[in-house]
């Protein structure tokens, strides 16, 4: 049956949405299109916004509850938006050996989130990254496209400060979070 969707697409990037639709149309013959469609959507939007999940439910004529059942079953799918800045900690062998795990722990504590989560203010998401090819300078942390080398757990706060500042202005920050001479 045709399921109507009236609330979808609100505040959702229409260009990305039509790209998703193109993907669905092109894959019409694929059996079990639901998971590929969700993957494509997550690639496009960075996560699975509610409206996009509903949109997929409507387009594939699969009940919303069933789609949600699949989304919640696989930890790969995320329904929370990623932060403005995505922090990826390399845990490749070189980084691991040279303290990558400690850096990750420090980030988890500093941000108050686990891997795969986003801070409540939506400023940062924390992920594990693949090797960035900078092993000689391990441990490496990438923030968006910036590569930070030889990161020390003790200097995490400093490292984050520049991103906190840059996006939202110093007045929003708690004083003790603004280190002097931040950045690299």
């Amino acid at each position: 049956m045709v399921r109507q969707n009236t609330q979808c697409a609100e505040e959702v990037d229409q260009v990305k949405l039509s790209e998703l639709d193109r993907f669905i149309d092109d894959s019409r013959d694929v059996k079990g299109l639901l998971i590929p469609a969700l993957q494509r959507a997550q690639e496009l939007f960075g996560y699975l916004p509610d409206a996009v999940i509903r949109h997929i439910s409507g387009r594939l004529d699969i009940p919303f509850s069933e789609v949600a059942g699949v989304v919640t079953f696989y930890s790969f799918f995320s329904t929370v938006p990623r932060g403005e800045h995505v922090i990826r900690v390399c845990l490749g062998t070189a980084c691991y050996v040279r303290g990558g795990q400690e850096v990750l722990t420090a980030l988890r504590h500093e941000l108050g989130i686990e891997v795969g989560q986003t801070t409540e203010d939506r400023r940062f998401s924390l992920e594990i990254g693949r090797c960035f090819g900078a092993c000689g300078l391990a441990p490496v942390v990438m923030v968006d496209d910036d590569v930070h080398q030889r990161v020390k757990p003790a200097r995490i706060r400093e490292l984050l400060a520049s991103y906190r500042e840059e996006a939202h202005g110093a007045q929003e920050l708690e004083a003790d979070l603004v280190p002097e001479g931040a950045a690299e």
Binding site: F64, E66, G69, T72, T79
Partner: protein, 595 residues
């Protein structure tokens, strides 16, 4: 045929049967918690495990087909132990409080635990947290009691094709429910209660109205009237140990009087009225379609006309087929017609202030609770129907009033809204509204009685999912000459999955009909979400047969011959589809967003 030996008994079993089928055939019961008849077995609950000679592991009886010369032991020590462990584990996480649970009388988990002599907790586990979902007018969901058997998922998704419920999350965190474990009102659910009808435990039940009804009865200011739907009389007896299919109409009336209702009326009366209004509407639509116009008729003219007595179906159309809404009869359901007339017509006759009147319905249905609460259902100037009890709830009220149901004498419903024809009784069965409508419409058009055996329309009766019939009109009365030689085509569907299928056929143009009857629940109202649990096809058949017996036992079998119907038109409504009817008995529908 295969030779199968079960617990030493040798039997012949059809190929393709499962061990569970074979055991039932041999009169041996194997407990199950996830099994549902006619549905592919899930083998999820593992309660039905049995020993099969030659197999290393225990087999799930519901999912294992028999083979020739199979030897099965359903009761070996290993099978018993395994079953016990499964139940022990379920109980260890179950938020069990049987003494406060509405399922304590018919809970399948409790019964199996009892039969397996489980007397003390075996494991200490973390309890599943209780989250109550009271978001809808009809249903309450209690996550702490859910054993994740998924019967509700199967029914909602496969039988009703709504898909409101699915397992969400994984592992210990799994919850069975709407998307992201949100409340039921956040998805398209039609509140049919078929999920509640199959749930083995107290995890889905109706929103209780018993307390409200007692409060009204205890209030000396209030005049409390009750109406009972046709399907209730064929099932209420089951709450008091009667065989399914026992008619208890007379005892039910006595019980309602003992409970203290001031007047006991019949939804059947407004079922008869529905036939007059809806039949006239159909003839007007036909006239408009065939002749271009019908004087004095201003309603919709789309064909086929669909029946509109089943509130789950109405919501289904509003959600999924808004383009079909002009095809729905504008008639309110008999429950709502009754409410609107009780607080106007009856109030006037009895000299009762409608403000002080409380209208209670007894319904086989959960969706009726939702229907009674729809904004527009206040044609009388008040809430037309105040409380809706399910058949199950009435059973509990009777018990709590200390009434010995089985020893009650038979009594009769009150005038002026208590008399009904056999045509009204059969509203309870799939195909019944169609048959009732044809009995009257045929006679109105031709002046002759419907020319079928015993007034039944056999092809639209029974449990087949989609049924059709056609009748060629011959020698109509002069007013209806435009129908001469017309082949009237009708169809009947029950269960919303079948309904979706039928609508697809109609929309594609592959099928054409003039009139279509839809009932939300499999079998019709006799299989409603508010009926005593657990409704199987065998029980459906028995209730259906009982309803036909009730019909055949009456002299009055056609709605238009009901003298109380004649009276209400003479004294109050004047004419079918007239001004008052339009205001009190007809309604409008509106599309609902799905998500």
């Amino acid at each position: 045929m295969y030779n199968v030996t079960i617990n030493g008994k040798s039997i012949q079993v059809a190929e393709g049967a499962t061990i569970l089928d074979a055991a039932r055939q041999a009169g041996i019961s194997i407990p199950t918690l996830c099994f549902l008849e006619h549905r592919a077995p899930l083998g999820a609950c593992r309660v039905c495990v049995v020993e099969v000679e030659g197999a290393r592991t225990l087999q799930a009886a519901c999912a294992t087909p028999v083979t020739d010369n199979m030897v099965v032991n359903t009761n070996s020590r290993r099978a018993r132990q395994s079953r016990r462990t499964v139940i022990d584990l379920l109980l260890s996480e179950h938020e069990g409080n049987c003494q406060y649970c509405d399922r304590s009388v018919d809970c399948e988990l409790k019964e199996i635990a009892h039969d397996l002599t489980i007397e003390a907790p075996e494991f200490e586990g973390e309890r599943i947290p209780t989250v109550l979902d009271t978001s809808t007018a009809a249903l309450v969901r209690d996550s702490g009691k859910c054993i994740k058997c998924r019967r509700c998922v199967t029914v909602c998704n496969e039988v009703q094709q709504i898909g409101a419920l699915f397992p969400q999350y994984r592992g210990y965190d799994t919850v069975v429910g709407p998307a992201f474990a949100m409340d039921l009102d956040s998805v398209a659910c039609v509140q049919c209660g078929q999920c509640a009808a199959v749930c083995p435990v107290g995890a889905i039940s109706e929103v209780g109205h018993i307390e409200g009804v007692w409060r009204a009865l205890d209030d000396p200011e209030k005049h409390v009237v009750v109406q009972t739907a046709p399907a209730v009389r064929a099932a209420l007896g089951e709450c008091f140990g009667y065989e399914p299919g026992t008619l208890v109409t007379g005892k039910m009336v006595s019980a309602l009087r003992e409970i203290g209702f001031h007047a006991v009326f019949d939804t059947n009366f407004t079922a008869d009225l529905t036939i007059i209004e809806e039949g006239t509407e159909l003839l007007m639509r036909l006239k408009t379609a065939l002749t271009g116009k019908a004087e004095g008729y201003h309603g919709p003219s789309a064909l086929p006309q669909f029946t509109s007595c089943s509130p789950g179906w109405i919501q289904f159309a509003e959600y999924f087929y808004p383009e079909m809404l002009p095809n729905l009869s504008t008639c309110k359901s008999p429950q709502q017609m009754f409410g609107a007339l009780a607080k106007t017509y009856y109030a006037e006759q009895a000299g009762v202030d409608p403000e002080k009147m409380v209208v209670v319905s007894v319904m086989p249905c959960t969706a009726k609770k939702f229907e009674a609460g729809r904004d527009e259902m206040n044609a009388s100037g008040y809430r037309d129907v105040d409380y809706v009890l399910t058949t199950r709830e009435l059973g509990r009220m009777i018990a709590s009033a200390g009434i010995d149901f089985r020893s009650l004498p038979d009594d009769e419903m009150d005038a002026p809204m208590g008399l009904s024809s056999g045509a009204a009784d059969i509203f309870a069965n799939s195909g019944g509204v169609m048959e009732a409508a044809l009995r009257t419409a045929w006679e109105l058009v031709t002046g002759r009685e419907l020319p079928t055996e015993n007034l039944h329309v056999e092809p639209v009766a029974g449990l087949v999912g989609i049924k059709e019939a056609s009748l060629v009109v011959t020698d109509p009365l002069p007013d209806w000459s435009f129908l001469d030689g017309v082949e009237l085509k009708v169809a009947v569907a029950h269960g919303l999955g079948n309904t979706a299928h039928l609508i697809k056929e109609i929309k594609s143009g592959r099928r054409e009909y003039h009139f279509v009857e839809i009932m939300t629940c499999p079998g019709g109202c006799i299989g409603g979400g508010g009926q005593p649990r657990m409704t199987t096809d065998e029980i459906r058949q028995k209730r259906i047969a009982a309803i036909y017996r009730e019909d055949e036992g009456k002299d009055l079998r056609k709605s238009h011959l009901n003298p109380q119907i004649t009276e209400i038109y003479e004294r109050y409504l004047k004419a079918p589809l007239g001004e008052r009817s339009h205001h009190l008995l007809h309604t409008k529908y509106a599309a609902r967003p799905v998500t």
